[in-house]
């Protein structure tokens, strides 16, 4: 079903809520000088909750196209919208007591955060190349500003400059790829593109041009998700940006990037045959993705081994995690997609948790070096315990949530017969254990460096830490609901 603009508005409430809230935050920021420090976060939080409520309330299972074939309305979109809103919500709470951000005026920060969230919601369900590019740029442009938010800070500025140059080049290449695809198929709509590929047969198109267009397009998605040949910005940007922004960047745009990657390749480049997806004759893009995934995991993990700055280490670790997530997309089965969604879901809690601990420790110690985490267990057992759980979860040790993600991804790959691929993944997980354990070792076993003052954690941060710990510890026991939820999100994603 294709809806026209007026019909679509009913299903556009989440995005509209964010747009209104964004404007309100800007207005409140300039008109209420005294109240604004309370009003802005409050408005942001309320609007995010409201948008989440609308998203959960709207029936997404009817598989329609909004705005004359611009946006898709399906369960896959619903999953990503809820995921992204939850990520933004947690980051807002985590940023409230960050020392880094409190040095500068915060009004625009919340408006920008809402703008990024809006861009990501559009990105995760766009099925037209024009709206895809537009929303991707909305996310990119606002996140450039958020990275460079600390105006007087050299590192923040440098990170932002690197981010914007890499970003502009990658999205430029992606755009060139899109223009080639448009030239070959004469359409910007992903489903029409697939039909054109199918009806004329790929033989009708130049094989080389098709592959070139795909690789160029992949540059844009790879940049958003920090896959390996396009990852160079990642460590520098993560290290230089304010920590709450880093936490946000490492989860939300990455997830949106995966959403759009899946949509682009599955809607545009595959045909449905029964319950599985088949390749559009001749374009073997999963092979390209397998190569990228192996490279991403290995390089991310190996580079993380030698890092002493915890933020840089987490940056490389998030590159490696992107490699695992990508594993789910190459198998072309519903199971693969489901495993991807589960991995993303658990990744949200463990990565945001790790960055929250980094934020809290920076608040009192002003340091990101792992060496300065020595003896943290004596200063704040709770913080050390929380960090330990997040690290073990990121490693994928059984009782924690991260295990669930890894298990599903590896299972999906093995079911498809790519056993060597799963072996590579497992070896990488073992390698990753080394540097995650190093943080725990520093916190628990090492002697402190003279600084023994107990570390104060504010009530809000404690509550937030507990809220992030619970999913990490207990998700494994709610295996079934998650399984069903993600399965229904992945299954309905056939498109029109």
């Amino acid at each position: 079903m294709i809806m026209d603009n007026l019909q679509s508005l009913r299903y556009f409430y989440p995005e509209l809520t964010l747009i209104v809230a964004m404007l309100l935050v800007v207005i409140a920021d300039i008109s209420f000088k005294r109240l604004r420090s309370v009003l802005n976060p409050l408005l942001t939080i309320v609007s995010l909750l409201l948008a989440a409520y609308f998203t959960a309330y709207i029936n997404h299972s009817q598989e329609a196209n909004l705005f004359l074939g611009m946006l898709a309305l399906d369960s896959f979109a619903q999953f990503f919208k809820l995921f992204l809103l939850l990520a933004a919500f947690l980051v807002v709470l985590g940023s409230l007591q960050s020392e880094e951000l409190s040095q500068v005026h915060q009004g625009e920060f919340f408006a920008l955060l809402l703008a990024v969230t809006l861009g990501m919601l559009l990105m995760a369900n766009s099925i037209n190349l024009a709206i895809l590019y537009l929303s991707l740029e909305l996310v990119s442009l606002t996140s450039y500003i958020m990275v460079g938010y600390l105006k007087g800070d050299r590192l923040s500025n440098e990170a932002s400059l690197k981010y914007i140059l890499f970003g502009a080049i990658s999205t430029g290449s992606m755009l060139y790829g899109f223009s080639l695809i448009y030239g070959m198929t004469g359409s910007l709509n992903l489903y029409t593109i697939r039909d054109a590929f199918l009806s004329q047969g790929v033989q009708g198109f130049d094989q080389f041009t098709t592959l070139l267009a795909l690789v160029l397009a992949l540059a844009g998605f790879g940049f958003k998700t920090a896959l390996v040949p396009f990852h160079f910005w990642c460590p520098d940007v993560y290290a230089g940006a304010p920590t709450p922004v880093t936490a946000f960047l490492s989860v939300a745009p990455k997830a949106a990037g995966f959403g759009i990657l899946v949509r682009f390749f599955f809607s545009g480049m595959t045909q449905t045959t029964g319950s599985e997806w088949g390749l559009v004759n001749g374009i073997n893009w999963p092979l390209v993705l397998i190569g990228i995934s192996v490279l991403t995991m290995t390089l991310g993990n190996v580079a993380a081994l030698t890092q002493n700055n915890l933020k840089r280490m987490l940056a490389y670790s998030s590159i490696a995690q992107a490699g695992y997530i990508l594993m789910g997309s190459v198998v072309l089965t519903g199971e693969g997609l489901k495993s991807m969604l589960i991995y993303l879901f658990v990744y949200l809690f463990m990565n945001l948790g790790a960055f929250l601990v980094v934020t809290i420790i920076y608040n009192s110690d002003k340091s990101f070096e792992i060496g300065d985490y020595n003896g943290m267990f004596k200063r704040s057992p709770f913080l050390a315990f929380a960090m330990g759980v997040f690290m073990l979860s990121l490693t994928g040790i059984p009782p924690f949530a991260g295990f669930l993600g890894k298990l599903y991804v590896f299972l999906a790959v093995i079911e498809k017969g790519l056993i060597w691929f799963a072996v590579v993944g497992t070896l990488n997980a073992a390698l990753a254990a080394f540097y995650y354990m190093r943080v725990i070792k520093a916190m628990v076993l090492e002697e402190g460096n003279g600084n023994v003052a107990p570390l104060q954690v504010s009530f809000l941060n404690q509550a937030l830490l507990v809220a992030l710990l619970i999913p990490n510890l207990l998700l494994v026991f709610f295996w079934n609901p998650i399984d069903r939820w993600t399965a229904s999100s992945a299954r309905l994603f056939g498109g029109l």
């Binding site: 190349l129 024009a130 590019y133 537009l134 740029e137 442009l141 450039y144 500003i145 460079g148 105006k151 007087g152 050299r154 590192l155 500025n157 440098e158 990170a159 932002s160 400059l161 690197k162 914007i164 140059l165 502009a168 080049i169 430029g172 290449s173 755009l175 060139y176 899109f178 223009s179 080639l180 448009y182 030239g183 004469g186 359409s187 910007l188 520098d236 290290a239 230089g240």
Partner: protein
């Protein structure tokens, strides 16, 4: 090429503009051969608008860099590498 060889941040930005414009020419040219409407030209206009805002943000960052470092040479922005 301008993107890869130039050291001056402003020149790199001009290289990026060239990349975007090459895509624009493609879009407009292919739109001529397309059977359904003016999708390509519409996309090109969107790209022009986005490119303008992108450059605005990038130039703001370059300006901040100039204030902090007194240079726009990208080789000197290596504090994070150490």
């Amino acid at each position: 090429m301008g993107v890869l060889t130039r050291k001056n941040a402003v020149n790199v930005l001009m290289g990026i503009e060239l990349i975007l414009n090459s895509a624009n020419i493609n879009l407009v040219a292919f739109s001529r051969y397309s059977s359904n409407g003016i999708d390509g030209q519409m996309f090109a206009i969107i790209v022009i608008v986005v490119a303008a805002s992108e450059v605005a943000v990038a130039l703001a960052m370059v300006l901040t860099m100039y204030r902090l470092l007194r240079t726009v040479n990208l080789d000197q922005a290596d504090t994070l590498k150490r």
